[in-house]
Each structure stands twice: as C-alpha cells, then as structure tokens.
C-alpha cells in the first residue's frame, strides 16, 4: 500500500507537471525576431517553404496507456468478510490499455490487461494473526463513447485468474492454504484525459497524455474452499501425520470500484 501511495504521488506530480508545463512550452511559430530597430537579415537565396509545425498540445487520441490502479471491493457475503477480516478491501496494481478499434467517429473498442494484488492482516479474538492476500491477472474489453475530446464514458467486461492465500498463525504454528479462482467483472466508468503534450516538432512525434479512469461494477468468481495445512517445525524426515482443517468456503463476489491514473502515448 505504501508503494502504491508513493507511486500515486509520483504519478500525480508528473501529471501536474505535464499540465503546468503546457503554459510555458509554446514554441514560437517562426524564428525568434530581433529587436525592432534591427531589421531582419535579407536572405540571398529564397528559403524552401517550411512545413507548418503542429500545435504542441492537441486532443488527438492516443492508442496506448499504462496506469497505476487501485481496486476497492465491498465484501458483501459473510464468508468473504470472514476471509478478508473486513468489509471493504483495497488493492493496487498496474494495467495497460490499448485502443484496438475505432468503431465510429466517437466510439472505440479497447482492450486492457491488469495485474492487481491486495493483502490484509488482522488479529483474531484469540490473538492469532490472520493474513489474506490475492493476486489476479485480468483481461478486459471496453467500449467507449467520447462525449468530448477529454471525456469518454465506457462499459467494460473482463475475465481474470488469480490465487488467494489465506494463513493463520502465531509463533507456535503457521497454517495456510492457497486457492485459485476465475472471475468475471462487468462495469461502467468514465475516462478523463488531458490534452496530449507532443515532445517533438513533427506531427508523428511522441506525445503523452494523462488519463484518469473511474469505474464501478460487480465481480463474480468461483467460491473457494480453504483447508489449512501446517508445516512441521521440527524438520523430521518422517513427520507425524497432520490433518488439514477445513475452514469453510468463501464466496467470491463483490461490487468494486477501480480508480486508475495513467499515461497515454
């Protein structure tokens, strides 16, 4: 979480610089003029006509973006709350988006890939440490409609795979289990962007834009049944047989909110 927060601040600063920089980055359209009393030099050979420079700032769409994102889930089922130890759980990760197809003058079809992790720790009523974490890789597709060049609502579906690790323990025992899951999400959101900042002087030069996406939706996945296993601490060659403990089955469904902040290029 600290890393995510630091990255968010860094990206926010970069985002702000990107915008603030536009006020001072306007290059002159012509060679700088001299003082008024200093006439311009006369060229002996007429110069070739110059290609008009594109504007440094534009609203031309960019096709790729990478983002830092936070994902917040509301654990509605009791079993999910017990698994995570809290009602609201947040995680963070990285995602990449690609504008795959223009369906019309304002409609685009995008695909994205996200890697998100979340982790929580709590202490049970008997002072046993409970750790729960998961990581997921999700592939999404979104359909966006640009209302303005800076604002595009969109709908998104995604499928993902991941693993949840649930562990309990103290200095005397360490129990854990990891279960895979497959999940699907359905959501809608809005993408906001800044004008692109072109870093070169030609029309096809590299450009950057800041993008904020806010998306809400619902995720559903397969339930996970956990059976805690413990490792022998003595390192015996033939450990005493240990029984696993079934701790129950956790539902995997939750409303979610994604907030991502990234750079388009």
């Amino acid at each position: 979480m600290t890393m995510l927060r630091a990255s968010t601040i860094l990206l926010g600063g970069l985002f702000a610089l990107l915008f603030l920089g536009t006020a001072h980055a306007q290059p002159p359209l012509y060679w700088p003029a001299g003082p008024a009393h200093d006439p311009a030099p006369t060229l002996a050979v007429p110069a070739a006509p110059r290609e008009p420079e594109p504007p440094v700032l534009s609203w031309r769409p960019l096709r790729m973006s990478v983002s830092l994102e936070s994902q917040t889930q509301w654990m509605l089922p009791d079993t999910t709350r017990a698994l995570w130890g809290q009602k609201v759980q947040a995680g963070g990760g990285l995602s990449a988006q690609y504008e795959a197809m223009r369906l019309g003058p304002a409609q685009t079809l995008g695909v994205d890939l996200a890697l998100v992790s979340q982790k929580t720790t709590r202490w049970t009523g008997t002072n046993v440490r409970q750790d729960t974490s998961d990581s997921r890789l999700a592939l999404g597709a979104s359909l966006a409609h640009s209302l303005w060049s800076w604002c595009a609502p969109y709908g998104r579906v995604a499928v993902g795979v991941g693993a949840t690790k649930f562990s309990l323990g103290n200095q005397y025992a360490d129990l854990s289990d990891t279960r895979w899951f497959v999940e699907g999400t359905l959501g809608a959101g809005i993408a906001l962007r800044t004008p692109s900042l072109r870093l070169g002087k030609t029309a096809d030069s590299f450009a950057l834009t800041g993008i904020l996406r806010v998306e809400g939706g619902y995720l559903v996945g397969n339930s996970q049944s956990f059976a805690l296993k413990s490792a022998s601490l003595a390192g015996e060659e033939t450990p005493i047989p240990r029984s696993n403990v079934d701790v129950g089955t956790a539902s995997h469904r939750a409303p979610y909110l994604r907030v991502s902040l990234g750079l388009g290029f």
Partner: protein, 540 residues
C-alpha cells in the same frame, strides 16, 4: 481552476485506497481458549467465537466437532461424574440478538442439542457438587465486569439441581458485610431422616450453611440459611480456607487464615422448626490447634475420630479430639503445612493402619515426615519419622493406587525434578532428569504413568512400578505446552494421551498418542482446529 482539478486527481485515487483499507476492521477482545478434559475426548471453548471444539482421538483425522454456544460464553467445565460439558454464558443484553444468560449442558455428540437453562442474572462462577447433581452459580467480583454486569448482588446465588428436571432457584443469602469467596458441598448423605446435600459458602469472617436440595415444604418455602460468624468479637479478620465434613457425627470442621482455632460446627436436629427454620441447628465451638494452622485431615471412626492439624509456624502437628476438645501437640523436625493420610503398612509394621505423610510445600522444605496415627497421642514424637528429600518441595500429587505421592521440586534447585515417595516403604525415589520439566500430568488410571515434557518437543513419561522406574520418550514435531491423559478409552477402545501445542492453545494444535504404547508411529496431529468452519461464522 483547471490546474487545481488536475492536482486533485491523484489525491482522489489515494483516498480510494486509504479509506477502504482502514474501515470495518474486526477486532474482538483477546481471549484464551479453555481446555476441558472429558472422559474420552477434549473440549475446547473459544469464547471469542462462541464455539466449542470437541476433538475425539478415536476420529482418525481428528476433525473436531463444532458446537455453537450461547452468547458470550464465560466458562466451561465437565459436569462431575458425567461426560457432559457445562457452559456458562453471559448472554446478550441488547440488540436484535439479545438473549438471557444461560447455563447449558452439552453432550459432545454430533447432532445432540444442548439443554439450556435461562438464568436471571449474569453469574460468572460455578461450583459443582462432587456427584455432579448440583451446581451453584454466583458472582466472582473479579470477573463480573467481563460478564457485562454493572450492578449486581454478590450474595445472590443460583442453585441448579440437574436431576430435578426443573429450572434452578435463586438463593440470596444474608451478608455480614462480605461476599461469597467459594462454595463447598458436603457429601450427599442422610441427615435427620432425609437424604440431602448441604452447601457451605465461605465468606470473610463467616460461613453460610444451607441445603442445596429444593424445599420440601408445601407450599415450597426456602428455609432460612444459617450464618455462622467466625469472629464473634469482631476484632479479627478470618478467612476460611479448608473444610472437612464428618457426616457420621454430623459435624463440619473449618480452618481459617487469621485464626489459631479449628471451627467446629456441630449439626443437631431441630425437632420443632417454626416458620422458615431448618430442621437442624448448627452450633459453633472453637478448638485450639497450635499456632497458625495451615491444613488438617480427619482420621479414625466413631469415638476414635480425630483431626490432625499441621501448624508450620510452631513446627507441630496437633491431634484434636473433636468430641472432647482435647488437643495433643507433637513437635516435628520440619514445618508441616500439607497432610496426606493413607491406610497402609510401614517398614516396622505390616498391618494396614492409618498413617500420614507430612510435607512443607509453601516454603519449600526439603524434608518429609511420616506419622503413625493409631497411637500418636500417646507415642507423640515416637510416632514420627522424618526423611530428607533431595531438594525443596513445591507440589505433591497423591497416587493412591501405587500407595505413593509424587513430589515436584522447586525451580532449578534440583538435578532431579521429581521424586516418588513410597508411603509404605517410606522411601524417596528420585527420578533423574537432565533438564527442566514442563507441567506434570499423572495418568488418571491406575497405571501409574507420569507424563511431562522438556518444554520443547520431547514427550517424556515414566512408569511407576514398585521401586522400578521405566522411562520413555517420544519426540514430537512441535513444542509441547501441556499434556493431558484421558481418563477413559475413546470410542475405538484405546485410551489416549494428548500433547497440547502452543501457549493457551489459541491456534488449536495437538498430537494424540495411545497412552499405553506411545510411539511416534502411532502419533497423529492436527493444527488449527479452533478455526474449523471459521469462514462460516458470519463475521465481522
């Protein structure tokens, strides 16, 4: 304005993470898991989850049976003479899930519902009669707050007769300014023409005596309890510590801190009770018992009935004749504060007679003494025999079947942590140990096997055959916190010993082994059983 909006975006993202992660944390109060030894299995009460986990060693994978208790369980005990678990719960005072305080009886069998008994108050202490028929619930002032009680009457008792099939009854007692410190039951016996069980309540400076049985009068009216002041002059503070019942006479003997006397309460029939009078009377007399007596034992029958009182301050034992009030003081080489009486032979006398072993456990003397009680009033010091032990004693456990007492030495003063005192041979047999031993568990059967651990993962045991110690050891995979030897065989006809792992058994880890053939090959473990069905408990 536009720039401010841009700067706010990352902050929004940050808040999205921070706000959600920190809300709704579930942090119940820390609590210990209580372990209750049943006849053939172990029961674990986790008050924080209001669950009982019953682990039966006969179940091959040791999967626990989980029972939900009533709201806010406070304590669990095995009901004496049965295999039922008694659970006292404080209940829930308000909210949609409100429920009264309850005492429930639970047979730890799948599908077996508990038998709850609603209580009028949140009692937090339970005392049972030895036959398991009665339980008296009361308030322990130290734990009343944890039970959620703000204002309560500490002299309100609640008497439950499990055999009556009826709810219990509230039994407030008079107070002379004190409150119940402990409650003791007399053996059930026929007194004055009727079988009954007497209960005695210890309070600072007084005793309260009443009948645990429900009133027999019609209409039912509770006979007035009998309050016996132990300080008639009111100038001393006397705290009752030990009680003996002589139901043949009938009489009650009480020893108390702050007094040099034995309080002798004789019970006599009240042939013409009026109103709420009892059908018996109690008369108090005092018998001098040396200086600051610490413990007493009763021996002899009929006119030969005597009290043997240990007085460590004066290094004496005092023999009291309760009938005449005569006392005989006998000097002892050590300062006795603990008495074990037994009937057996001695090296000089093969006839089984009443004898006593005298120990000093409070201040840790390194001597023991034997007393031949039959003629000790006349033989005096000649009836005593003292022996040195190898170190200062701190605990003694009688092993009646072996005619022995197992004594443990203090701390690390001894190279041998244990010795076996043979009561008939009058020998002190040390058991060698190369290190500190963990808690000692004595086999509750007549096998005479003593269990312990090295405070690490070595389960050690020693068989106490006559004069021959046969030690054994099983190395387990985890450190051992304590050892429990189950009194009876489990459903597979094997009697088990259970090593509990971890402090307070919070995670729920144990290893079971057959008690008669404890080997690593036969051992089985489970860890985390107190979290069985953890996700299905609807929290936070």
């Amino acid at each position: 304005m536009k720039r401010v909006w841009m700067l706010a975006l990352p902050c929004l993202a940050w808040l999205g993470c921070e706000g959600s992660g920190g809300s709704g944390m579930y942090t119940p109060a820390d609590s210990e898991v209580q372990v209750v030894t049943m006849d053939d299995q172990l029961a674990f009460l986790d008050p924080s989850q209001a669950r009982i986990f019953a682990v039966d060693p006969a179940v091959r994978d040791l999967k626990p049976r989980v029972f939900k208790t009533h709201a806010r369980p406070l304590l669990a005990e095995k009901r004496n003479n049965t295999n039922e678990l008694l659970v006292l719960s404080a209940g829930q005072a308000s909210g949609k899930d409100s429920e009264p305080a309850r005492l429930s009886r639970q047979v730890l069998v799948d599908g077996q519902a508990d038998i709850p008994l609603d209580l009028p108050a949140r009692y937090n202490r339970m005392n049972q009669s030895s036959d398991g028929r009665f339980a008296i619930l009361s308030f322990d002032g130290n734990g009343a707050a944890s039970a959620g009680t703000l204002l309560y009457n500490p002299n309100d008792l609640y008497v439950v007769d499990f055999t009556s099939g009826k709810p219990g009854r509230s039994r407030p007692i008079r107070s002379l300014g004190g409150k119940p410190e402990s409650i003791v039951f007399a053996p059930r016996t026929t007194l004055f023409g009727r079988e009954r069980t007497l209960a005695v309540v210890f309070s600072t400076n007084y005793l309260t005596l009443f009948e645990a049985d429900a009133p027999t009068k019609v209409p039912a009216t509770e006979p007035t309890e009998i309050t016996i002041s132990l300080t008639p002059d009111g100038t001393r503070t006397v705290v009752p510590t030990q009680i003996l019942f002589d139901m043949d006479r009938p009489a009650i003997y009480v020893l108390a801190d702050g007094s040099n006397d034995v309080f002798h309460v004789s019970l006599d029939a009240n042939d013409a009770p009026k109103g709420n009078d009892n059908d018996f009377r109690a008369t108090l007399s005092l018998i001098g018992a040396g200086q600051a007596p610490r413990s007493m034992a009763m021996y002899g029958v009929g006119n030969a009935r005597r009290l043997l009182v240990a007085s460590p301050a004066s290094r004496q034992i005092v023999v009291l004749n309760p009938k005449t009030g005569d006392s005989t003081a006998i000097s002892v080489a050590m300062a006795p504060d603990t008495i074990f009486t037994f009937t057996g032979a001695s090296p000089k006398d093969t006839q089984p007679k009443e004898r006593a072993l005298l120990l000093n456990l409070a201040s840790g003397s390194n001597a023991v003494a034997f007393a031949d009680l039959e003629n000790i009033e006349s033989a005096k010091e000649m009836g005593l025999e003292s022996w040195p032990a190898s170190a200062n004693l701190q605990k003694a456990t009688p092993l009646p079947a072996q005619k022995s007492v197992l004594v443990e030495y203090k701390g690390n003063q001894a190279s041998a942590g244990l010795s076996l005192v043979d009561l008939e041979e009058r020998t002190i047999l040390p058991m060698g140990s190369t290190g500190m031993l963990g808690a000692i568990a004595v086999d509750p059967t007549q096998n005479g096997r003593v269990w312990s651990s090295d405070m690490g993962n070595r389960l050690v045991y020693i068989d106490i055959a006559k004069g021959v110690f046969l030690p054994g050891e099983v190395r387990l995979d985890n450190a051992i916190g304590s050892v429990v030897a189950l009194p009876k065989p489990s459903a597979d006809a094997i009697r088990y010993v259970v090593a509990l792992h971890g402090q307070g058994n919070r995670v729920g880890g144990l290893t079971v082994l057959p008690a008669d053939k404890p080997t690593r090959a036969e051992a089985r473990s489970i860890f985390g059983f107190t979290f069985a069905n953890y996700l299905d408990r609807g929290q936070p």
